[in-house]
């Protein structure tokens, strides 16, 4: 049977795109290779407990009254109500550059402003001018690359402050090494500093279940464990997809959310139009589960800590398997109004080298050893910053770029995708489009808006 729209990938951008389409036409099918939806933001079970794979915090918090905020636009587009969700705002987060400076921020932007004023008094006027620029900038107008680093240093005239502001924005959504496009910087600055961070009260599973239930209510269909092996094309049109089983599904439109290069790999004759200029950013993530009363003092009143111990902040694929000099330490139980759990998690993230882990993986035992050693090194680094917690660990787990690649099929396990984005979502075919990570919007709200806006722009008006 032919379907109107095939969505490849049941991650958050695919789910949002499919719900958006299903609101007006239920003949939509999501094809997900994994046994669970969610993509990068999914979950797994160990010791009868649910662990989230990717979620630290959701960016883009907005009060219900701010109708133009990305979060509220997204909810309207999907016809979801705020009260269907249980949102919890962050406590306070901190950017710590060891032995140099620290800046706290929360969902009240004034906090960051006053922190900068007291730590960097000479940058005060420059920061205000930067805010004028940010507030007046339309990041969605197509233009060529403008270096955010350059603009920041011109305004702030302080390398340390520039690095400190870039650190959280890069860790939470930059696919590019050491610099960001100004437009992307503006999007991330708004999402993290001006809007802020929150998370759902339950787990990511509750959010995914709600989205799936909404989707099914509109009549949409999802097939799990169903990898697409080919996109069938005729001239400038996609005419259907072929599944791993050999089954062929004819369709009117295809929306791929699996990445640009990953989508090209589904053509019989891959012909990349957009060449990759530089390497992809890989990450290592560890989870440490411990009794809630064993959380160290440094976690008190903190939701997320972004740290750097190096002389300069380097955001680039490391030479070694992992670069412990910088990273993220997250306390997922530290959001306002969450009922205190019995056990808490500490999650750490560092830049990691896909290539190095690939080499290690040639010897299974060496790979597992390196994984444990890297987790220990990550824990020791975190303990230097927040205090000790190694004595009471209940469970530990680590994802390398290879783990991410295996479970999400993201090329090189690069969670933020290729460095160069395909912002218009156009793949060179009249009815085949790209949404999600490689279209350019990142984070949960960003990727969902990506799915929605590609359906709005390219598909709904033409059905």
């Amino acid at each position: 049977m032919a379907v109107s729209l095939v969505v490849i990938g049941g991650g958050l951008s695919g789910l949002a795109a499919a719900i958006r389409f299903a609101r007006f036409n239920p003949n939509v099918l999501i094809l997900e290779q994994h046994s669970r939806s969610g993509g990068l933001n999914s979950y797994y079970f160990r010791n009868n407990r649910l662990f989230e794979t990717g979620l630290h915090a959701i960016t883009n918090f907005a009060p219900p009254t701010d109708k133009r905020a990305p979060l509220n636009r997204l909810l309207r587009q999907l016809k979801l109500k705020r009260d269907q969700f249980d949102f919890h705002e962050q406590l306070q987060s901190e950017i710590i550059f060891t032995d140099t400076a620290s800046l706290c921020f929360s969902n009240q932007f004034e906090l960051l402003k006053s922190e900068i004023e007291s730590a960097f008094p000479s940058a005060r006027t420059g920061f205000e001018q930067l805010l004028v620029l940010i507030n007046g900038y339309d990041p969605f107008i197509p233009r060529s690359f403008v270096s955010a680093r350059q603009v920041l240093i011109e305004h702030l005239d302080d390398q340390l402050l520039v690095d400190m502001l870039l650190c959280p924005l890069m860790f939470y959504g930059s696919s590019v090494a050491n610099d960001m496009d100004l437009g992307q910087f503006v999007i991330m600055f708004r999402a993290i500093f001006q809007e802020g961070m929150f998370r759902p009260g339950g787990s990511i599973k509750d959010l995914l279940d709600l989205l799936l239930a909404t989707y099914r209510e509109y009549g949409g269909t999802i097939r799990l464990k169903t990898p697409v092996t080919r996109i069938l094309r005729q001239g400038k049109k996609a005419i259907g997809v072929e599944l791993g089983s050999g089954e062929i599904i004819p369709c009117d439109f295809v929306l791929s959310t699996i990445g640009y290069d990953e989508t090209l790999a589904l053509y019989d004759t891959p012909s990349p139009v957009h060449k990759e200029q530089q390497g992809r950013m890989g990450f290592m993530e560890s989870i440490f589960e411990l009794p809630v009363n064993s959380l160290p003092a440094g976690s008190h009143n903190r939701t997320i800590i972004f740290y750097n111990q190096g002389e300069h902040f380097l955001y680039q694929p490391p030479v070694d398997s992992v670069d412990f000099r910088s990273g993220v330490i997250c306390f997922p139980s530290h959001f306002q109004g969450l009922t205190e759990p019995q056990t808490a998690e500490i999650r750490t993230t560092h830049l990691a080298s896909y290539d190095q882990w690939r080499v290690l993986a040639q010897d299974r035992e060496a790979y597992l050893k390196a994984k444990t050693a890297a987790r220990d090194a990550s824990r020791v680094t975190a303990e230097q910053i927040i205090g000790g917690f190694s004595h009471s660990l209940l469970f530990e787990d680590t994802f390398t770029p290879l783990t991410v690649e295996r479970f999400t099929a993201k090329k090189e396990g690069a969670i933020y995708g290729r460095p160069d984005k395909i912002k218009d979502g156009v793949m060179g075919y009249e009815n085949l489009f790209l949404a999600g990570t490689d279209q350019g919007f990142l984070g949960i709200i960003g990727s969902m808006l990506s799915g929605v806006s590609m359906v709005n722009q390219h598909i709904l008006p033409k059905t």
Binding site: K67, R73, L460, P461
Partner: protein
């Protein structure tokens, strides 16, 4: 449909998009977007709902005709005369 019915239809669709939309101060000759704080994404909902409810196919080049309540009514009146 009469002009008033078309007006009600549009307002009903908008209320469905944003249940807190304030119609009391709405000026029918002014752009809906600015007055109701809607964006282009919301706007597409009006087009899609008209299609769903009345099988109207509004071509993309005609979207500007739906800018204000008055222009909506003017544009839709001949299309919905038998509805």
């Amino acid at each position: 449909m009469t002009r008033d019915q078309i007006k009600d239809l549009i307002l009903d669709i908008i209320a469905d998009i944003d249940d807190e939309a304030d119609f009391d101060t709405l000026k029918s000759d002014q752009p809906l977007r600015d007055q109701l704080d809607l964006d282009s994404m919301d706007f597409l909902d009006i087009v899609m709902e008209l299609r769903k409810r009345h099988q109207l196919q509004i071509p993309e080049e005609d979207y500007p005709e739906l800018a204000s309540l008055d222009s909506c009514v003017n544009y839709l009146e001949p299309l919905l005369k038998d509805a």
